[in-house]
């Protein structure tokens, strides 16, 4: 085959892969929830467009100001968010993309170069790339507006910076995929990732906390960090542009060359991983044999007083699933972390700035309780997602769906109860024990809000299911319809809760809030009870969608 044939063949393959991605996108709209999904996508695309255009305009204005005021080195302040967003957002929100597993393409006669290009193309056509692309365009426009002479140079630097970001994102994904390919390492990675994210969240509050005490350690840390960022890609890109603005092109060129070096190094690490994939590495765990001894002891299932055996069985199964999901468990402890962060950060400084919680620390418990419920929505609104093919077992077993839904909701309610107790203890330790009337009002608020969420969650779990893998982290989300509707429900529930608390506060008596919320709780519990009775029929009516959605490979 001649070189020309190879090129034409490669072009054909890349065209076919582009077509595949397009068809995957179009076909994703052809599901039974296609119209709703389309509307959700339009809403989310609109949000992306606003974020991209708004951010781009903001970046343009700031870049122009930095250059005009003779502070071009401050461009690093713009390029670091571009870098962080480009790298972090795809990990957190791959639900917005339709990427097939690129290793599936290896069965076809793709050359390694084509395979590499496909991986790069996957990154280049993500919504996040479009969004940060608009931000980068904003920076380009801002610099060009303030100093037109450096526009071509800035364009070159930003293109190289974009190439670095694309390669880095793909490299991260490729290596993370390798570590996530095996269950154990997958769960360890999930735990490490959440700890990393949490530690990022703690940096600000910690610095604020210790900054107040003028600790020299923090100053030393900043002394090291600021120059260090200058030798990392966002800092190098900023410096390359800044030096050109200051007419020190050779210095700028050295920064650009260092940025090139980063591109090559990251490209090499990506190449190592992709080459291994291309050669057909096998990370299957099927052959792994456990060295654990035979366990012949009888272990009866759990018993749940007052509930039937199937309810107890599903409750046990749900609990075991959660206990084995590192990512899910870490998500569930988020409310406690948030309380700590608030204590170290805004709450701490609020004593001097008039932050609302500073005047009313009692509100910390209701807020924590509300946040606890919010975190649970991941589970409640897609409660069959983790069952995957197991949904067929539910349909084949002689158990009413209302019992299955009840058992799942009991699990959710148990988690909510445990977390609420933990939140109360945390609030008591961090802010002092909340007043009894506020505690009761918050609990009655939960009594109202939880059944509303369970009701809506059960319905959406049947109407808009999405298969989830509890062991993998960050690369999956509920259906976009579910996200939007659950957002609406939370607005309603929080609005009602805030309203009741406002009334209590207005009259200086939170028992009034408790009474209002108790009344609403009675209504929401009745509505939940009635909805359970209809679940069997709904589940039957939705069985094809559920089975098709959850059993797909």
């Amino acid at each position: 085959m001649t070189e020309l044939d190879h090129m034409s063949n490669r072009r054909g393959q890349l065209t076919a892969i582009a077509w595949l991605r397009w068809r995957l996108f179009v076909n994703s709209l052809r599901s039974s929830r296609g119209v709703l999904e389309l509307i959700s996508r339009i809403v989310i695309s609109f949000a992306f467009a606003v974020g991209g255009l708004g951010g781009g305009v903001g970046m343009a204005v700031m870049a122009s100001i930095f250059i005009s005021e003779g502070k071009p080195e401050m461009l690093a302040v713009l390029l670091w968010p571009v870098f962080v967003f480009w790298q972090v957002f795809p990990i957190m929100a791959t639900a917005f993309t339709n990427n097939p597993d690129s290793t599936d393409l290896l069965r076809f006669p793709l050359s390694y170069r084509s395979y590499f290009l496909v991986r790069m193309a996957y990154g280049a056509f993500d919504p996040v790339t479009a969004l940060v692309g608009l931000w980068s365009l904003g920076i380009l426009a801002g610099v060009g507006f303030a100093k037109p002479a450096v526009l071509p140079w800035t364009l070159l630097v930003l293109l190289l910076f974009a190439a670095f970001n694309l390669l880095f994102m793909q490299m991260t994904f490729a290596w993370v995929e390798r570590w996530l390919a095996q269950r154990r390492t997958r769960e360890i990675m999930g735990v490490l990732f959440v700890l990393l994210m949490l530690s990022f969240q703690l940096i600000g509050p910690l610095m604020g906390h210790f900054g107040k005490r003028a600790r020299p350690d923090v100053q030393r840390f900043m002394d090291v960090f600021v120059p260090l960022q200058g030798v990392l890609p966002p800092g190098l890109a900023a410096d390359a542009i800044a030096q050109a603005v200051l007419s020190r092109l050779m210095v700028g060129l050295s920064s650009l060359l260092l940025l090139c070096a980063f591109v090559l190094i990251i490209g090499y690490f990506l190449h190592v991983r992709l080459r291994a994939q291309y050669r057909g590495e096998n990370l299957s765990e099927v052959a792994a044999v456990s060295a654990l001894p035979r366990d012949r002891s009888l272990r009866p299932g759990w018993s749940l007083p007052g509930f039937t055996a199937p309810v107890a069985a599903v409750f046990e199964k749900e609990t075991r699933y959660l206990m084995r999901s590192g990512p899910m468990l870490l998500t569930l402890i988020m409310p406690i972390f948030v309380l700590v962060i608030f204590r170290l950060g805004p709450m701490n400084s609020a004593r001097h700035t008039g932050f609302p919680f500073a005047r009313t620390p009692d509100m910390a418990f209701p807020s924590a309780a509300a946040y606890t419920l919010l975190i649970l929505t991941n589970l409640v609104y897609n409660s069959f997602g983790g069952d995957a093919g197991g949904i067929q077992f539910f349909y084949a077993s002689p158990v009413r769906f209302r019992d299955i839904a009840l058992a799942k909701n009991l699990t959710h309610a148990s988690i909510l109860a445990i977390e609420t107790v933990l939140a109360w203890i945390a609030v008591s330790v961090l802010y002092g024990p909340p007043a009894l009337d506020v505690t009761i009002a918050a609990l009655t608020g939960l009594l109202f809000a939880a059944p509303v969420n369970f009701l809506a969650g059960n319905l959406l779990s049947l109407y808009s299911p999405k298969k989830l893998d509890y062991s993998s982290f960050g690369r999956q989300r509920a259906a976009q319809v579910t996200v939007l509707i659950s957002f609406g429900v939370q607005l309603f529930v929080v609005g009602v809760g805030v309203g009741a608390f406002w009334v209590g506060r207005h009259y200086g008596n939170f028992w009034i809030a408790s009474a209002i919320l108790l009344l609403l709780a009675a209504i929401s519990l009745s509505a939940y009870g009635m909805s359970l009775k209809r679940i069997d029929d709904l589940a039957l009516a939705r069985r094809e969608t559920l089975v098709a959605e959850l059993c797909r490979a």
Partner: protein, 275 residues
């Protein structure tokens, strides 16, 4: 004596939009039969088995299992049947032991009985060696055995199996066959789909063949054989283009199947560009 059928369908039909996947199927499976349900790919086997087990609603028609109308008594019917559906219906993040315990309790067994049977089944299926291993980490064959164990833990009177031997090694297949034959000996009824016709021929006493959604043959192997021979000219019967044996020997199930669905081996005639 004509026993009331364990499984019967009347004009069972399932449409997916324009496509009629199952078209007016009338099945009758007598108690204690080991019943093979055959058909080419896409003929409607899995759709039928899904409807028979309540996983899919029929567009029209009626299903009776053990004399009970499935639509009116779904829970009562499901209590008495066991199912290994196409996707095996497993919960990947439980261990094998936890899953069987769970399945037993979902079928109404008390805690002790469920635990006892779980241990017995794990032992019988040779799955007891790795108690801490999650189902998701099982091999395909191990998952098949576990799905089978979950389907029989409550001692069902009727067992529905969709491709139970697919991806299962010879040793595991032997274990499964022994268990199924034991169930038949104790009076259970088994409804099985499989593409492995040798296994169906060896295990099943009765067979039905579905083709393009329609039931084209039903009866004992002998009845099917007689039917095919009666409709086949002697010259054709002696030919070997469908892999038939020389004249005088009994037709195999594969030959019966091929002649019933009109399949011929034509790769030799077509695709001449193949190396």
């Amino acid at each position: 004596m004509d026993l009331a059928p364990t499984i019967s369908t009347q004009s069972l039909t399932r449409r997916f939009g324009e496509l009629v996947a199952v078209d007016n199927v009338d099945l009758r499976v007598a108690p204690g039969q080991f019943f093979g349900f055959l058909g080419p790919n896409g003929a409607g086997k899995s759709t039928t088995i899904k409807m028979l087990t309540g996983l899919l609603a029929p567009s029209s028609g009626r299903i009776e299992i053990l004399g009970l109308d499935l639509e009116r008594n779904p829970v009562e019917v499901k209590r008495q049947i066991g199912v290994v559906p196409e996707g095996m219906a497993l919960f990947g993040r439980l261990t094998g032991s936890e899953f069987l315990n769970f399945a037993g309790r979902m079928y109404g067994l008390d805690r002790e009985t469920a635990a006892k049977r779980t241990a017995e089944l794990l032992d019988f299926m040779q799955l007891a060696d790795q108690p801490k291993k999650l189902v998701a980490d099982y091999s395909h064959g191990m998952q098949k055995k576990l799905a089978m164990a979950a389907a029989v833990i409550h001692g069902p009177k009727v067992l529905f199996l969709d491709e139970p031997f697919e991806g299962v090694d010879a040793i595991a297949a032997g274990t499964l066959k022994t268990m199924l034959q034991g169930m038949i000996a104790r009076g259970a009824t088994i409804f099985l789909t499989s593409h492995v016709l040798e296994i169906v021929e060896r295990l099943c006493s009765h067979v039905a063949i579905i083709h393009q959604g329609r039931l084209v043959a039903q009866g004992s192997l002998e009845e099917l054989r007689a039917g095919v021979e009666a409709h086949t000219p002697v010259a054709t019967r002696n030919s070997s283009d469908d892999g038939s044996s020389p004249s005088g020997e009994k037709l195999t199930l594969e030959q019966i199947f091929l002649r019933t669905v009109g399949g011929t081996r034509r790769a030799e005639r077509e695709l001449s560009w193949l190396g």
